[in-house]
């Protein structure tokens, strides 16, 4: 039996991270940002059926980018975890922070122990009863969690998009301005995105028990029109 070559752990981790980052950079990006009534989730997604943004629980939404089958698996696991917790305890006990921690643990575990890391970046957003408590948890392929206050950008070119959002975002944006800011951050200076290229949903405090609501293509076109 031949001995495997020794590879330094630093090298293994670096190779895995590069592999995951490459996979993620190939896909299209998504943005979540706070606006006056809650949180808007905006993804560049030409498909009308394979969703990037979806509902997890009454006040919690999920966004994933990268490899579809992988983040969809994570989404379903999140729905199950949230529904089980709400069933066992109470609907009020389901929160984004513990869900984000579970995701982080799982992604971290897969990153270090499996052959292949997950090529995904995900976001768990929770809208609170008042604007001050809205939460955005951005989780990377290796389980790193960022708790973000204003907006969160998922995708390969996140730095450039964050830079653009930094300039256009302000406290208390209305939905129309929030959508326009997110779309121009996603598009960059050289492209124009239309309603067909976008998937937009909101977690709105004004929606009753289930805060999640998808905007139709017509709604989106209405917000983007001058």
């Amino acid at each position: 039996m031949s001995q495997p070559f020794y590879v330094a752990p630093e090298q293994v981790m670096k190779d895995r991270a590069d592999y995951a980052r490459k996979g993620i950079a190939r896909g299209r990006a998504a943005v979540a940002l706070r606006y006056v009534d809650g949180i808007a989730l905006v993804a560049e997604n030409p498909s009308n059926t394979l969703r990037k943004v979806s509902e997890i629980y009454d006040r919690i939404a999920f966004a994933g980018i990268g490899k579809y089958n992988e983040y969809d698996q994570l989404r379903v696991a999140g729905v199950r975890a949230a529904d089980l917790k709400g069933y066992q305890y109470s609907r009020d006990d389901v929160d984004a922070r513990s869900l984000a921690n579970s995701y982080a643990q799982m992604l971290g575990q897969i990153f270090t122990h499996e052959m292949k890391p997950m090529e995904v970046e995900i976001l768990v957003a929770e809208v609170s009863h008042d604007a001050g408590g809205d939460q955005l948890f951005h989780i990377l392929y290796d389980g790193t969690v960022f708790d973000e206050r204003r907006f969160s950008v998922l995708g390969g070119d996140a730095d450039a998009m964050s830079g653009r959002l930094n300039e256009s975002w302000s406290e208390g944006l209305d939905l129309r301005s929030a959508v326009r800011a997110a779309v121009s951050a996603l598009a960059g200076p050289d492209r124009t995105l239309t309603a067909d290229d976008l998937e937009i949903a909101v977690l709105s405090r004004t929606n009753g028990r289930r805060c999640f609501h998808r905007l139709t293509d017509d709604d989106v076109a209405g917000h983007l029109a001058d």
Binding site: R51, S54, E55, I56, Q73, V76, A77, G78, V79, R80, A81, A82, D83, L84, K85, G86, Y87, Q88, S98, L99, N101, S102, Y103, Q105, M106
Partner: protein, 262 residues
């Protein structure tokens, strides 16, 4: 919160009850005769079709033997946006079944990204009633009604169930519980397919009134405490509960009419 993650061959899909089984959260069926335990029982519920959809109605009383155990129980509840469920029978398992049913519809919608068809919802409930059969054999019978608005066929639809999970679609009205004979007869006499909302609501109020009048386990309108039956309509616009003020006015009118006859 641990993440429930399954291998592809072992995945529970969009079924919440199946998920509960996989993670070991289902309760065991009761063992031994429970009939004389004095568990609260919920009683009369009716549902009928009218022009725009369906009306569901249920009284508020729960009884333990000859005692009234609750005066304000809600046996008619919204299942999701376009459907409702009404329950008669042992209150504990009935409430648990409703909770599980509501969760299942929402769980399916979130996992699959689309609504179940109305027929699919009726079928799900049928499987839950059948799952309760071991408990029903011990005396914990639960008999629901299911009604909703079918967006594909653009009409209201109703289902009655039996203890074994048998599912029977009815075209005019259904009634369940101890006062169902009286309530059902009132609706049978007053029903026609062209009822408008107002007529359908009055007929449902009247049916529960007569059931409460003749059946000791069914509660009537309680003006003293301000407790009125739960009555809701389900139409293309979704579930809408009728306000207590509206019901109070209808019951005053019914009482006036009764008085004028004597």
């Amino acid at each position: 919160m641990s993440m429930p993650f399954f291998a592809p061959g072992d995945d529970p899909g969009a079924s919440f009850p199946e998920l509960l089984r996989r993670v070991g959260l289902t309760a065991d069926a009761p063992v031994g005769a429970m009939g004389d335990l004095g568990v609260p029982h919920a009683t009369t519920c009716v549902a009928l079709r009218y022009l725009d959809g369906v009306v569901m109605a249920g009284d508020r009383r729960a009884t333990s033997g000859n005692l009234i155990s609750h005066r304000s129980m809600e046996k008619v509840v919204q299942a999701d946006r376009y459907s409702g469920v009404a329950i008669a029978g042992a209150a504990g398992p009935a409430m648990e079944m409703i909770k599980l049913f509501q969760l299942q519809l929402e769980h399916y919608e979130k996992v699959e990204g689309t609504f179940l068809s109305l027929e699919g919802k009726a079928n799900q409930l049928s499987m839950m009633v059948r799952g309760n059969l071991p408990a029903a054999m011990q005396g914990m019978v639960v008999v629901p009604l299911f009604a909703g608005y079918d967006n594909r066929r653009e009409t209201g639809r109703l289902w009655a169930y039996d203890v074994t999970g048998g599912r029977y679609e009815e075209h005019e009205y259904v009634a369940t519980g101890s006062g169902s004979l009286h309530a059902g007869t009132v609706i049978k006499l007053g029903h026609n397919p062209h009822l408008d909302r107002d007529e359908a609501l009055t007929l449902a109020c009247r049916a529960l009134w007569e059931a409460a009048d003749a059946d000791s386990a069914t509660g009537g309108p309680d003006a003293l405490r301000g407790i009125y039956p739960v009555i809701a309509t389900i139409t293309a616009d979704g579930w809408q509960r009728v306000s207590d003020d509206d019901l109070a006015a209808r019951y005053v009118a019914i009482a006036e009419e009764m008085r004028s006859r004597t």
